[in-house]
């Protein structure tokens, strides 16, 4: 008998907030005051951040020296692939007008170099770069093997097109005395790249580790001879190499080259810029918390803030103008 009353209501749905779709809810109301104050606050915030960003970007000192034209002769020389190991130097004198404080970074900057081409970014072998299997060149097409079938190390299009200009900064006390500015080749890569992603094959001797492989076709010297000064900076864990292997997002990009102190510079030996119709520069720059010298973000914030304020005022005007009409509607 007892089942009957329960049975009678057996199909009564649960009266829970969820099932009855009556969860307590916050209604997003685009009411005048809400929207106006929201816009206003956004405007204030954006303007504030924008100004801060602009100020901080302004504090950055940056010098860019475009050496494309000046070193055009070297480029011409290099256009003929036969001359790739011939030395060619050119020097550009420049003047740093103000003191650059803090860490100064030297970048090279390429214009119109497409490091983000689909085929290009595919053409690398991570397992080779990790040093586990030097001869694993499977994904490196078309730069997998030399003509005689020896696997290339490091293989692939990215490695092959490495930026191999040597940039030397020297401080000209006078016309004759050149003080070479000490450059730090280390610390320019991501730590994880240097110590996790890029490893040399384990062997006593680097050259023996790379035995059975050959250098990429465009390279003047094999990978284990990249840095003559610091033997620990050779092979796959060469900082310049690692930096190059991190492909840039846009065709115009700069990459960290050296960390250094105040100075002048010398430039020598460049890849032929004309071959990629691009330009090359050296950039000397300091850094702040907000990154480089780009004013864009700060400006964007400022502009957004300003636009938001404008919108606020226009809305307020509309709102005030139509106050009466609104009243009518809400009474409806």
């Amino acid at each position: 008998m007892k089942t009957t009353p329960q049975g009678c209501q057996s199909r009564l749905p649960d009266n829970t907030a969820l099932k009855q779709q009556q969860l307590p809810a916050y209604r997003l109301q685009l009411s005048a005051t809400g929207v106006l104050s929201g816009f206003f606050a956004t405007g204030v915030f954006c303007l504030g951040v924008g100004i801060i960003l602009i100020l901080s970007a302004k504090s950055i000192k940056e010098i860019e020296i475009n050496y494309t034209k000046i070193c055009a002769n070297c480029a011409k020389l290099r256009e003929n692939a036969v001359n790739f190991d011939k030395e060619c130097t050119c020097s550009i004198p420049f003047h740093i007008p103000e003191t650059m404080q803090g860490n100064v970074y030297m970048y090279y900057k390429l214009y119109g170099f497409y490091q983000n081409l689909y085929g290009y970014i595919l053409s690398r072998s991570n397992s080779q770069l990790l040093g586990t299997d030097v001869k694993d060149v499977g994904s490196c097409a078309p730069f997998r093997e030399s003509h005689n079938g020896t696997p290339i190390a490091p293989c692939g299009a990215i490695a092959n097109s490495i930026f191999n200009d040597t940039i030397i900064l020297s401080y000209n006390l006078n016309s004759s005395i050149h003080i070479k500015v000490p450059m730090l080749r280390s610390g320019i890569t991501w730590w994880t790249d240097k110590y996790v992603k890029f490893r040399n094959p384990s062997s006593n001797n680097l050259s023996s580790a790379f035995a059975g492989t050959t250098k990429p076709p465009y390279w003047p010297k094999p990978v284990y001879e990249l840095d003559e000064e610091d033997p620990g900076n050779n092979g796959f864990i060469n900082d310049d190499f690692i930096v190059w292997m991190r492909t840039a997002a846009f065709p115009t990009f700069k990459k960290l080259y050296r960390r250094l102190s105040r100075t002048q510079c010398f430039i020598e030996g460049l890849p032929a810029v004309t071959r990629f119709r691009g330009e090359k520069s050296v950039v000397l720059s300091t850094l702040t918390w907000s990154g480089g010298r780009s004013l864009f973000l700060g400006l964007a914030y400022t502009v957004t803030g300003a636009v938001t304020w404008l919108a606020t005022f226009s809305m307020m005007a509309a709102h005030l103008m139509l106050k009466e009409r609104k009243m009518f509607f809400s009474q409806q």
Partner: protein, 1503 residues
């Protein structure tokens, strides 16, 4: 027929068991006993073995297999099915494209992942469904039942699946029937068996099944071994209502088999101890399973629109890819001459030509940008819809306490269509009304009995009801609950079984509901049961009773009564017995009060004893001694008798006919009973207990009308006490129990529109035919009476007054039935019986023959009286209709009822308004219909521009504009309503007229189609759907609405009193009409708005995301490179951004429910597709493009001159996109619940967690991005956060700005609704939680209505009087709806017409006095608009034709444009001396047609 030979095509092994064979013609199946030894001698053991091996292979066994797949076939079959979806094929194509080396954009395996995921999810879902099907199949297959085993010579327990065709099955009470079984034996002495078909059609009343003729009278218990006959029957079909066949006995004799002999699988045996039958159809060939079709698949309008937009997206995709390809070609050419350092040549050192590169790029781009076609869209939509359905099901406000049912969504994928409905097509009976028939008043032999007390009682119920609703849940079963008792436990146990087993025949829910319902007797609410008798009539009935009690033993007892009293007596006898009501007692539900099986139980009380052994079973005569017959004597007695009357009914009949009338056994009162009955009667009167017992008899009727009549008769102490298949007992206070021998029951059908019983009257021993049916039919079948003699004149008068009252009832909205009687002489009966039996036993066109036979019987009837049954409006129907109309829905009512009743109900439920015009379209021919349509159109067009009528004095056209609209509120729509009858509808639906009809109907506020057939209903729906391109909803409760429900875009079934056919066919099933309001206005709106917004959001999301990739192509030489990691690209849609939009899609409420209910016009936004239309789609896409521009270029410029690498920047972009999506969703989400917060939080959390884990997982994996430690580095950079913030804000500012501006400058209705919700938080929600407001819960059918109209009354009358000064009869009582006023009265210049018009007014009032005061009462009364043609055909009076057209003219003349013509034509006709009018329009062709032309602005002119 012939025995099964070893035919060539199926080599029969020796010892093959008997089996059915499909004959070459394929028309019939032959079934023989499985027990019969086949011609070749057979080893029983071998037989058993073979049985296990499966027996005859082509024979459907009883094993149920509804699974689609087997282990082996699952994968191929499921994949095959899944690839029927174009989307799946597309995605697989893309994935396959990626395997082509030249064009691959991603790691080949990776693109396959989402497709495989989707396929796998679907496959898993299918597998699970299939598995649960398998499980339930298994369960059902392993139910046990008793099957006769040849080896053991007894019934043994076997599983259902082992049953074969030809097996003998023994079923006990409350068992479920395992297959379609031919009933061969029943424990019931009369060979009856009751089944409950709730699982099949939801009907809870018991159906009677009968043992095959010839087997019912077997001497001893049925022995299957002796069964040698061959059964020949139809091939398996799905017609539940038909079974034909015959059984051929060994001696070559044939006996017909009918559906009454067949026990259908899925039904439950009730009231019968045990039955035995032979299996005819098993397993999938049973009717129940053949009837079971799978769920319906409908595509919603939104989805269609969406698919169209998906095509746009495909186009966009192709364009983007093409652009990219061209770009890439140009780029390659630019660098062609000089090989650049970054150039990646082919393996052989050569480089691709620009054109080849472009082609490859194109294909790669298609892969890269495939996200534009959202793979997850379809899955998400399915999920959202399932959740929406779940929430609709769960809505507590759609739960009906009375029936313990809530709304069921049977179609899962058209929820959003509910928000876009434009036309509602509704049935009337059971849909708008309760289908609870309550006896209201009756007319017996020309005297009206108003039953005022009854009316008062009903009014009380209404009040009580409405109070109840407010109070505690009322449990409709309260009166009966106490009596369920011990039987309950059995039933409950059994019920669980039955629900399990009938998932096939209907959804589980339905089975449960049905079993729920079956606890209570249908149609027996107190309101229907307790009828307050009219004192006058009660007195008359008592008088009859007394007189007859005294005169019973005389020669002609009835002769002592005056004709009127005799009619009264017959009337009540007819009410009581002319039906198929089964009597049960509440003590033992579903047990017959006196069945023989009951005798086996010990006598419990003295009352029980008395009741049980009251001499009543007179046919068999066994209990005539009235003594305590023991079981054994009883049995032998009965069997003895049954042997006597073995086999041929004809024989029995002849026997009986030959007997002298009052002599023995077979008629009403046996001598032995004489002493008993009076004694018993007196004792009974003294014994209250017995009285109570009698009171509690329950009547199980097939239709509510029958129940109402039986309950009504009981109120007059003329109680139906018992019904067996061959006798009916009626209990009267003085006469005691009268037992009528029931010779035949000619069931009700919709063609004849009547039913009859043939009985032998116990008092007179005459054979009487009692017929009950629609008045239109019965009136035609009456004995023509000559006007010569007094009696004939009297009869005629009775008829005419009865007809008058019938009209009056119809006006009141009552359902009318006529009761008639015919006395047959024995010769006539014998003659008829002969032909009837022939008809019954014929195999070919039996229906036809039976119909003719019935027609032969039901003629020359003597009219007894008429009843008026009220079918009350359901709760809240007027309110619902008002709201729905405010919501911009056009409501059409399509009903089979007659015009007057329909119109009245329409007024009651506010479908028609008293201050609006009603155009009535009744045409007799195609041409007339065309002409009428033209006129109506002309009229409608001419009046439509005028918002208020011009009341210029002297201008006759004044009358044609709505009288009250001037005084009515200015908001009222001047558009008229259209009433059309079935015949005109048929003409109007013809090809050449349908456009006009539709055009007219479109102008009308509401349309009422009366007397329409189911087919017409569906045709109307189809027409509106196809021609007007409108969204249609059909709602109905009965089988006659099924076709309409199926045709409509959305079919809604009401799980009402008439079974479940409508529900089975519907997409949604609601318990009551009023729930439609909430279903459409709230859930429909929500579903539509949610889904529309979600689809838009999906398009936005994908376009925006693809935009990011596309813009990047400008910076990577269009090389199809992606800065976003492939994994992010693939998982983004599936994982990171899917949850919040799902939550919003499921839970968002743009406007709260109470506002939607109070402001129904908000629904219009869905009708006009405001939320999702091409314009919004493209705006949305434009916004997506803008946002993607912002989201790309802000980070691009921010990182322009930096040393960032590609994938770090890509990760930043992904994060930005995610934030932007979520913020965008935040703006679009109207209600933020904790679920939304969680979903958004989870989304972000998931992205960062996955990214961090992914970026830390492998140093060398995932080329080309190789994203080791990218995210970690990125998150240490303040630039990342600054950029994210700025970009998201900038991207969404314009949207927010425009939304805000638009919201304050040009707010849409919905936004206003939202503001309203904010202003009055929750204030209104309380009353709406309870449905309609208590104050206005119901419209009182008559009282309140008349009160409500009284306001407009005086106005009408003054107007009327001012025009028709010769009409002083305009009493205040005349229910003066403006539409009712007959404006054409001034036209009636001759006296006849004069009288007519006064009559027209008079009979439109409710007051009897006026009616009687009308001159020329009897002559002119048939001026009823719809009845005219009919009556004129009956009486063949020339005047009637004229009256006919005059009344039509009076109707026509409401049309201003028509008036002048009509007037002229009238004069012309008078000169001609003919009543043939010229056509109202100068169209000469229509002259002939006009004879039957009926057109009116109101059909209520005189009804």
């Amino acid at each position: 027929m012939e025995r099964e030979p070893a035919t060539a095509e199926e080599p029969a092994p020796p010892g093959r068991r008997w089996r059915r064979r499909r004959r070459r013609e394929g028309r019939k199946r032959t079934v023989r006993s499985n027990l019969m030894p086949p011609p070749g001698a057979e080893d029983p053991a071998a037989g058993a073995l073979r049985r296990q091996c499966g027996g005859a292979q082509h024979l459907a066994d009883n094993q149920l297999k509804t699974t689609k797949y087997t282990l082996l076939s699952f994968l191929p079959k499921n994949l095959f099915e899944q690839f029927h979806r174009v989307a799946n094929v597309y995605f697989v194509f893309i994935a396959m494209l990626n395997f082509v080396p030249a064009v691959n954009a991603f790691q080949p395996g990776l693109t396959l992942a989402p497709v495989l995921f989707i396929l796998a999810v679907t496959a898993f879902k299918d597998l699970w469904e299939d598995y649960s099907r398998h499980r339930s199949d298994h369960e059902i297959n392993h139910l046990g039942c008793l099957v006769f085993s040849r080896e053991e010579k007894q019934y043994v327990n076997r599983f259902w699946k082992e049953i074969r065709v030809g097996d003998f099955v023994r079923l006990r009470c409350n068992e479920i029937i395992p297959a379609d079984i031919l009933l061969l034996s029943s424990s019931d002495p009369d060979g009856l068996c009751h089944i409950e078909t709730a699982n099949l059609d939801g009907e809870t009343n018991l159906k009677r099944r009968q043992v095959v003729r010839g087997f019912s009278d077997l001497v001893s218990e049925f022995n299957p071994l002796t069964f040698t006959s061959v059964i020949e029957c139809e091939k398996p079909n799905n017609d539940l209502t038909r079974f034909r066949g015959c059984i051929v006995h060994d001696n070559g004799k044939k006996a017909g088999l009918y559906k009454e002999n067949l026990l259908l699988r899925g039904c439950t045996i009730r009231n019968t101890e045990a039955v035995v039958g032979i299996v005819i159809y098993a397993g999938h060939e049973t009717k129940a399973l053949l009837n079971n079709s799978g769920p319906r698949y409908k595509r919603s309008q939104l989805e269609r629109q969406m698919n169209c937009d998906v095509l746009w997206c495909v186009l966009l995709l192709v364009c983007m890819s093409l652009f990219s390809a061209v770009g890439h070609g140009l780029w390659v050419r630019r660098y062609e001459e000089k090989k650049s350092l970054f150039d990646v040549p082919e393996s052989d050192g050569s480089s691709l030509s620009p054109v080849t590169a472009a082609v490859y790029s194109f294909l790669t781009m298609i892969i890269v940008l495939q996200v534009l076609i959202p793979i997850s869209l379809y899955v998400s939509i399915e999920i959202v819809k399932v959740c929406q359905v779940y929430f609709i099901n769960q809505d507590i406000e759609l739960y009906d306490e009375e029936t313990d049912s809530q709304l069921q969504c049977r179609a899962l994928n058209i929820t959003e269509d509910l928000g876009q409905i434009q036309y509602i097509f509704s049935d009337k009976t059971g849909t708008l009304t309760e289908n609870k028939m309550v006896f209201r008043r009756c007319t017996v032999s020309g005297m009206e009995y108003a039953h005022d007390a009854n009316a008062r009682r009903l009014a009380k119920y209404q009040e009580a009801d409405s109070e109840d609703e407010e109070a505690v849940p009322r449990g409709g079963s309260l009166p009966q609950r106490g009596s369920i008792g011990s039987h309950q436990s059995i039933r409950i146990m059994h019920r669980s079984q039955s629900t399990k087993s009938h998932r096939r025949t209907g959804s589980r829910a339905e089975a449960k509901r049905a079993s729920m319902l079956s606890k209570h007797t249908a149609f027996s609410s107190p309101m229907e049961k307790d009828i307050a008798p009219d004192p006058k009539l009660f007195e008359k009935v008592s008088e009859c009773d007394r007189c007859l009690a005294v005169a019973r033993h005389q020669e002609h007892p009835l002769a002592h009564l005056s004709p009127e009293l005799s009619d009264v007596f017959d009337f009540f006898i007819a009410l009581t017995i002319c039906n198929t009501v089964v009597v049960t007692s509440p003590d033992q539900p579903r047990q017959k009060v006196r069945g023989r099986c009951e005798l086996k139980s010990p006598v419990k009380t003295i009352e029980d004893f008395l009741r049980r052994f009251t001499p009543s079973r007179l046919t068999s005569g066994c209990s005539s001694t009235g003594s305590l017959a023991t079981k054994s004597t009883h049995k032998s007695g009965s069997s003895f008798l049954s042997t006597l009357s073995n086999n041929s009914t004809l024989l029995k009949l002849e026997e009986r006919l030959g007997q002298p009338a009052p002599a023995i056994t077979s008629n009403g009162y046996s001598s032995g009973a004489d002493g008993w009955a009076p004694e018993r009667a007196t004792r009974e009167q003294g014994q209250e207990l017995e009285q109570v017992q009698e009171q509690e008899l329950r009547y199980e009727a097939e239709s509510p009308d029958e129940a109402a009549l039986v309950y009504a008769a009981r109120a007059y102490n003329c109680a139906l006490a018992d019904r067996l298949h061959d006798q009916v007992s009626v209990e009267l206070p003085h006469l005691g129990r009268l037992t009528f021998e029931l010779l035949h029951t000619l069931g009700f059908d919709s063609i004849r529109k009547r039913m009859s019983v043939v009985i032998r009257h116990p008092l007179t021993d005459e054979i009487n035919v009692y017929t009950k049916g629609a008045d239109s039919v019965i009136m035609d079948l009456l004995l023509p009476c000559s006007s010569d003699d007094a009696r004939g004149r009297h009869q005629k008068k009775i008829r005419s007054t009865t007809q008058n009252y019938l009209n009056l009832y119809a006006v009141e909205g009552l359902r009318t039935l006529c009761i008639a009687k015919r006395v047959l002489s024995k010769e006539e009966y014998a003659c008829w019986l002969q032909s009837h039996l022939e008809a019954e036993s014929s195999l070919e066109n039996r229906e036809e023959l039976l119909f003719q036979s019935a027609v032969r019987l039901e003629t020359n009837l003597h009219l007894l009286g008429a009843t008026g049954i009220e079918d009350r409006l359901q709760d809240g129907v007027p309110e619902t209709i008002t709201k729905l109309r405010q919501a911009g829905l056009q409501i059409w009512v399509l009903t089979g009822d007659k015009q007057e009743t329909a119109i009245n109900i329409a007024y009651a439920c506010k479908l028609l308004d008293h201050d609006e015009e009603v155009i009535t379209l009744n045409a007799e021919s195609q041409e007339a219909c065309a002409a009428l349509l033209d006129q109506c159109l002309h009229y409608v067009q001419s009046t439509r521009p005028r918002s208020t009528p011009e009341k210029t004095a002297g201008n006759m056209s004044v009358g044609f504009s709505p009288l009250c609209s001037a005084s009515a509120s200015t908001t009222s729509d001047p558009s008229p309503s259209l009433v059309i009858d079935g015949r005109s509808l048929a003409y109007a639906l013809e090809k050449n007229l349908e456009d006009k009809f539709l055009f007219l109907a479109k102008q009308c506020r509401s349309v009422l189609c009366c007397r329409s057939t189911p087919l017409q209903k569906s045709m109307v729906v189809k027409l509106v759907r196809s021609k007007l391109k409108a969204m249609t909803l059909a709602i109905g409760d009965g089988a006659n609405d099924v076709s309409m429900i199926q045709v409509a875009d959305v079919g809604v079934g009401i799980s009402g009193q008439e079974g479940m056919q409508a529900v089975m066919a519907s997409d949604f099933a609601v318990p009551r009409f009023r729930y439609l309001q909430r279903l459409l206005l709230v859930h429909g709106h929500w579903c539509y708005s949610r889904l529309a917004n979600m689809v838009l959001y999906f398009f936005y999301k994908n376009t925006m995301f693809v935009g990011l990739l596309f813009w990047f192509q400008f910076y990577c030489g269009f090389s199809a490179s992606t800065m976003i990691d492939q994994w992010y690209l693939i998982l983004f849609n599936l994982l990171f951004s899917s949850l919040p939009q799902l939550v919003t899609g499921v839970l968002d409420k743009d406007v709260p429910a109470y506002v939607l209910l109070t402001e129904p016009q908000l629904y219009k936004s869905g009708q006009h597709m405001e939320e999702y239309r091409p314009r919004t789609f493209w705006l949305n896409m434009a916004d997506a493009a803008f946002q993607s521009l912002v989201c790309f270029f802000v980070p691009y410029l921010a990182y322009y001159d930096s040393d960032t690498d590609m994938f770090t920047w890509g990760t930043l972009i992904t994060a930005i996109a995610l934030f932007t999506f979520l913020l965008h969703l935040g703006i679009e989400t109207k209600t933020w619940t904790w679920l939304n917060w969680i979903a958004c939080g989870l989304s972000i959390l998931l992205f960062f967690t996955v990214a961090l884990i992914y970026n830390a997982s492998c140093a060398t994996c995932y080329p080309p991005s190789n994203p080791y430690w990218t995210m970690q580095t990125l998150m240490g950079d303040p630039m990342f956060y600054l950029t994210c913030l700025l970009t998201s804000v900038t991207a969404l500012l314009p949207r927010l700005f425009f939304k805000a501006l638009q919201g304050s400058l040009f707010p849409t209705q919905l936004q206003l609704g939202r503001q309203l919700a904010k202003k009055s938080p929750k204030k209104l929600s309380a009353p709406f939680a309870q449905g309609p407001l208590p104050g206005e819960t119901r419209t009182e059918p008559s009282e309140q209505r008349s009160v409500s109209t009284s306001g407009s009354l005086s106005r009408d009358c003054t107007l009327q009087v001012s025009w028709h000064a010769q009409q002083p009869a305009c009493s205040p009582e005349a229910r003066g709806e403006p539409s009712m006023v007959d404006v054409s009265m001034p036209l009636r210049e001759d006296p006849l017409l004069e009288g007519l018009s006064s009559q027209a007014l008079g009979c439109s009032s409710q007051e009897e006095a006026i009616l009687e005061g009308c001159p020329g009462d009897s002559k002119v009364k048939p001026t009823n608009t719809s009845r005219t043609a009919l009556l004129s055909s009956i009486f063949n009076l020339p005047t009637f034709s004229s009256l006919n057209w005059i009344s039509s003219l009076s109707l026509v003349s409401r049309l201003g444009s028509v008036l002048q013509f009509s007037r002229g034509s009238l004069q012309m006709d008078k000169q001609d001396g003919e009543f043939l009018p010229s056509p109202p329009q100068p169209d000469q062709d229509l002259k002939r047609a006009d004879h039957g032309l009926l057109l009116g602005a109101s059909s209520r002119d005189c009804s």
